[in-house]
């Protein structure tokens, strides 16, 4: 048994109560959601919060809601809920693609989208998903609410715009017609973090050309979408040649580091290969959606 350093524990009852507790216990306190990132780090004593503020009773943060041309997802929504949601799969197939390869059922039953994004592990899959879907993060503090685009939410590995006394409450995803998305990951074993992964979202114009596209990479040293890849596609009719060009752009833009999962050249190759694959699939899905009307 790995034993964490001593800590105190309190269960928040509402979002306001959680914010109060965060204010009361200060920077040495930590919110715990699914606990699947925080608790392993505590057990290895890499993280030693003095207070754990448990937000698992905040059912108000556990929802998936269609609201006009937005899909709103509460921060406490579990991976499993996202994986199993037909509504999410129909609108954003990339989510199911990604959720299928995040950890294992035990982790997915507890782990949350909010915890994933706030943990901001460079190999975390949902950040890429949120990036390419142009999600917005709804953050609350005692002073009120702010809504940030992903570009402002990310602050680098293990860092986000969420302050020590704030809560991430919700993610909002814009719903667009004629769209398709996809995610693919290479892992050494099921449940392992990505060696590298790529996600893509494509929006077609009525004439079948690409109106807009986004390509994001996971664990490859880039925490924002690959602008060059989108540039390659915009205004063009999708084909293998374009995917290849976008793949090369992604490989050039990424900045991987060597580790036990693989050396730099391999990871750069994955950026290329996986970008092609997800664009191929995202475009096919968008085209299929267009056909269905």
């Amino acid at each position: 048994m790995q034993i964490p350093a001593p800590f105190d524990y309190v269960r928040a009852t509402t979002v306001d109560n959680a914010l109060e507790l965060l204010a009361r216990y200060g920077p040495e306190s930590r919110v715990v959601a699914g606990g699947h990132s925080l608790l392993p780090m505590m057990k290895l004593r890499l993280s030693r919060p003095e207070w754990l503020i448990d937000i698992n009773d905040l059912y108000e943060l556990d929802f998936i809601l269609r609201d006009g041309n937005k899909l709103r997802v509460g921060a406490l929504t579990r991976h499993t809920t996202l994986l199993e949601s037909e509504e999410v799969a129909a609108l954003f197939p990339i989510v199911r693609d990604a959720e299928q390869v995040i950890a294992d059922p035990v982790v997915r039953n507890r782990g949350t989208i909010g915890g994933s994004l706030c943990q901001a592990d460079p190999a975390e899959d949902l950040s890429t998903v949120c990036d390419v879907l142009a999600a917005e993060a709804v953050i609350r503090g005692t002073g009120g609410e702010r809504i940030l685009p992903m570009a402002e939410f990310h602050r680098g590995p293990y860092e986000t715009a969420v302050g020590p006394d704030e809560l991430l409450c919700e993610l909002r995803f814009p719903v667009r017609p004629r769209s398709g998305s996809a995610y693919e990951k290479v892992e050494r074993r099921v449940g392992d973090w990505a060696v590298g992964a790529a996600g893509a979202a494509v929006f077609l114009a009525e004439d079948g050309t690409v109106e807009d596209a986004a390509v994001g990479l996971t664990a490859l040293g880039l925490d924002h979408p690959v602008a060059e890849a989108a540039g390659v596609l915009r205004g063009k009719r999708p084909d293998e040649g374009l995917f290849a060009e976008a793949g090369r752009a992604a490989a050039a833009a990424c900045n991987p580091v060597a580790d036990q999962r693989g050396p730099v050249d391999y990871k750069r190759h994955l950026a290329d290969e996986l970008t092609r694959r997800v664009l191929r699939r995202a475009c096919a899905r968008a085209a299929a959606q267009m056909q269905e009307g």
């Binding site: 790995q2 350093a5 001593p6 392993p40 290479v186 074993r189 693989g262 391999y266």
Partner: protein
């Protein structure tokens, strides 16, 4: 999961067709395990029990400058803190290893691997013990680490074992086997010679239950009761008597339910000794259970062999000779568990299943700043490395000769009529019919169709690989005249008592870590005596209650203790005959045996069942002279030879050409372990070993960085396979009994671990043939496979 060829109508308990003896029955121990009623070391709670935790070295190589325990001792819940200096006073700072070396129990002079034991805290609870570790102040003077075995013998390499007088380098041993001159001569005149370096990386047994102990020293009686995660309780008792100086009759070792061993629980680790010292010092029971990172980083490893192989053959594909030199990384202390006189254990069985003219191997063992061990780990003492070497070499040759690898093997097998077969390095294989097993596996696989499918796929640029391996295992150590572990011979005792109502209890020295002993051994007695297996209890794992024997590892339980059990049952049967004669007023010679009963020849209605005879023995029947009033017996079995299980494995993989990901699509395993006692248990052992093989071939490795940091210290870093990485296993079998074993059984525990890695790697290399790849080392991770496809295959170490 399995293709079952001989499933009876209903294997469930209560079936009237249920075999009394051999056959497929559910495991007697499983109701306990599936209901969560197993009882493991960490479940043991004794009155007044304290908890120990080990402070471990953060660096791989460093002089110990000072330890200050003041703050830890000031912790309100800390009862004692033990350091290397305290142990020096008790003459316990160093303990003998299983390979004629010593290992530091706690560091006194120098840290030699990251994770090494530095101090031991005993506290009121495990949380306090763990917290107090942070209160110990240690000053280290960091030294350059040596983690690359290839540099261990460089003149400027740091000398790791400088405490050994006169030691100026890191060489542990040079050892060789076989006829070098004869081998070199065959090589010199052979048509074809191919060589290949191959690495068997350092891997870890990683049992689900980590190692641990509860020590309870009774100062009044002087008796030490030690509950331990051990695969060898009797050997541990003797070793504790020698190490700790406690008289052997005052030591009781209890090995309760064990959550997997795989060789990890053969050795005596510092933690066990520290729990004992803690109990003696505090006068209270002390529990120590390591956490996962401690297990992965400090309690033993397996493999770590860098092998240079060469094979010589004729143009037509007749294999003539094999030679190899191995650089063996033994870590900081030579603690390898193995029972032979050879420092490389059974490695010299590397001639495999082939009829060779000559063979020679040499092994150089070196110290490095890594955890000690080199345990069996489901490898029958280095057979895993040996089989990997020969089976990869044969494939390398097949490629060179442009021959089908299955065909090349068929051409070179030892023939059935050649058994018993003396190989060129001194082993005498008991029995085998290799060609039959090979052909069965090819038939089950649909080998020709697979090759056709592969050719079609290659046309389309798809990467499919078919890998073959054929292994000969060597298990059941071993004859007393050749085998021992620190001077203890390897004969096993067995005791059988039949109670008055015909129910029986068997006492065994070997302990199960999941192999199903409570079922298999009951079935052996059932087969011999006709008592239903559920009426036979197995007592094991407690030295106060069982006869002496060397323990469970190297697939030795069935070959050695299984033989003892069969023989003790036969002894009881013969005694029952005498008693039945008295009861039936007949001469014993006139009695005939049918399962469960002696009857009068020619008059089957006049007979006595074992239960009736047992009641008679314990009752008032007038017993013949010299016959005691019981139905009990005991034996000690000294095996005349080892047993040599074998098997033919075929693996089919698909490789994603864009990412290098390997998918094991099919795996066909034909095993021959001689007589099959419980086919379901055999298949379970095979499934486990195959899964293990997938892990080693595709993902497992304990790596170190240049600073000597262990990079495999958690299950996030050290990957073991899940159900998602393995296919539906397709198993088959042939039966070639061992001629010298009382029931012809050979052992199956490690066959699949030994046989599967080369099949998988051969399949991966075969898949990559269009890229000109002729070899790649394990683990075949996506990145490493992709590098091989780019012509940049690199050894992992």
């Amino acid at each position: 999961m399995t293709v079952i060829h001989d499933r009876p109508s209903n294997p469930a308990a209560g079936d009237a067709d249920r075999p009394i003896g051999y056959g497929r029955i559910q495991r007697k121990e499983d109701p306990r395990f599936v209901r969560g009623k197993g009882h493991y070391v960490d479940d043991i709670v004794l009155p007044g029990m304290l908890h120990g935790a080990i402070l471990r070295a953060p660096v791989a190589h460093a002089r110990l400058v000072s330890i200050d325990t003041t703050n830890a001792l000031a912790h309100p819940k800390v009862v004692a803190v033990i350091t290397g200096n305290d142990l020096l006073g008790l003459k316990l700072a160093w303990a003998p290893t299983l390979s004629a070396d010593v290992q530091a129990v706690l560091v006194t002079d120098k840290v030699r691997f990251q994770g090494q034991e530095v101090a031991f805290v005993v506290a009121e609870d495990r949380y306090a013990a763990r917290d107090a570790l942070e209160l110990i102040d240690v000053e280290y003077d960091v030294l350059p680490p040596l983690v690359d075995a290839r540099k261990a013998l460089d003149p400027d390499a740091p000398v790791i074992r400088d405490e050994i007088e006169g030691r100026t380098d890191n060489r542990i041993f040079d050892w060789e086997m076989g006829d070098k001159a004869a081998t070199d001569a065959v090589f010199a005149s052979a048509d074809v010679v191919v060589g290949q370096e191959m690495v068997y990386p350092r891997v870890h047994p990683a049992p689900m239950e980590t190692c641990g102990a509860v020590a309870d020293f009774d100062a009044v009686s002087g008796k030490l009761t030690l509950y331990e995660t051990t695969q060898a309780p009797h050997a541990h008792r003797t070793l504790f008597a020698i190490v700790a100086g406690i008289p052997e009759h005052k030591i009781r070792i209890v090995s309760p339910d064990i959550g997997g061993g795989f060789g990890n629980k053969v050795g005596i680790y510092p933690g066990y000794i520290l729990a004992v010292v803690g109990s003696i010092v505090t006068g209270r029971p002390v529990k120590w259970v390591e956490d996962r990172s401690e297990n992965l980083m400090s309690t033993s490893f397996a493999r770590d062999y860098i092998m240079q192989g060469e094979i010589a053959a004729t143009k037509e594909g007749k294999i003539l000779a094999l030679r190899t030199h191995v650089l063996a990384d033994h870590g900081a202390f030579n603690a390898t568990a193995q029972p032979t006189k050879n420092p490389a254990g059974f490695f010299s069985i590397f001639t495999g299943s082939y009829d060779l003219q000559a063979a020679h191997c040499s092994v150089t063992g070196v110290y490095t700043n890594k955890a000690p061990g080199g345990v069996a780990y489901a490898c029958s003492f280095r057979v895993t490395e040996a089989v990997y070497l020969v089976e990869r070499m044969v494939d390398v040759l097949a490629r060179k000769l442009n021959m089908d690898p299955a065909e090349l093997r068929l051409k070179n097998f030892i023939k059935p009529e050649q058994f018993p077969y003396a190989n060129k390095t001194g082993w005498v294989y008991d029995s085998g019919n290799y060609e039959a097993a090979m052909r069965l596996s090819m038939q089950l696989a649909g080998y020709e169709d697979l090759r056709r499918e592969q050719a079609e796929k290659r046309e389309r640029g798809e990467l499919m690989g078919i890998g073959v391996s054929f292994f000969t295992e060597v298990v059941g150590a071993g004859p007393r005249k050749h085998f021992d572990i620190v001077g203890l011979g390897m004969a096993d005792g067995a005791e059988l008592r039949v109670h008055p109502t015909g129910k029986a209890v068997v006492r065994l020295s070997v302990q199960s870590q999941g192999q199903g002993h409570e079922t298999t051994f009951a079935q052996i007695v059932a087969e011999e005596l006709g008592i239903p297996p559920e009426d036979i209890d197995i007592v094991h794992g407690d030295t106060d209650q069982t006869p002496f024997g060397l323990g469970t590892y190297g697939s030795r339980s069935t070959p050695v203790s299984g033989a003892a059990v069969a023989l003790v049952a036969r002894k009881v049967r013969e005694k029952a005959k005498l008693i039945a004669g008295a009861m039936l007023e007949t001469r014993p010679e006139d009695l005939e045996w049918e399962k469960g009963r002696w009857f009068v020849k020619g008059d089957p209605s006049a007979g006595k069942t074992i239960a009736e005879i047992a009641m008679g023995a314990h009752g008032t029947v007038a017993l013949p002279e010299g016959v005691d009033g019981n139905l009990d017996a005991e034996v000690t079995y000294d095996p005349p030879n080892l047993t040599f299980p074998f098997g033919a494995y075929i693996c089919v993989v698909d490789v994603d050409p864009g990412t290098g990901q390997v998918k094991v699509r099919r795996f066909i395993a034909v095993d021959d372990c001689g007589t099959r006692i419980n086919p379901m248990i055999i298949e379970g052992q095979v499934h486990g070993g195959l899964t293990d093989g997938v892990g080693m071939a595709l993902m497992e490795i304990i790596e170190f960085d240049e600073a000597g940091n262990c990079l495999g210290g958690s299950f996030m870093d050290y990957l073991i396979p899940t159900a998602m990485e393995v296919p539906d296993w397709e198993t088959g079998f042939t039966v070639t009994p061992s001629p010298h074993h009382p029931i012809g059984a050979k052992g199956i525990g490690e066959s699949a671990t030994v046989g599967s890695p080369p099949a998988i790697v051969n399949a991966v290399v075969d898949a990559l043939a269009p890229y000109g790849v002729t070899h790649m080392d394990m683990p075949c991770t996506p990145a490493r496979v992709w590098a091989a496809m780019q012509g940049r295959a690199r050894p992992p170490i």
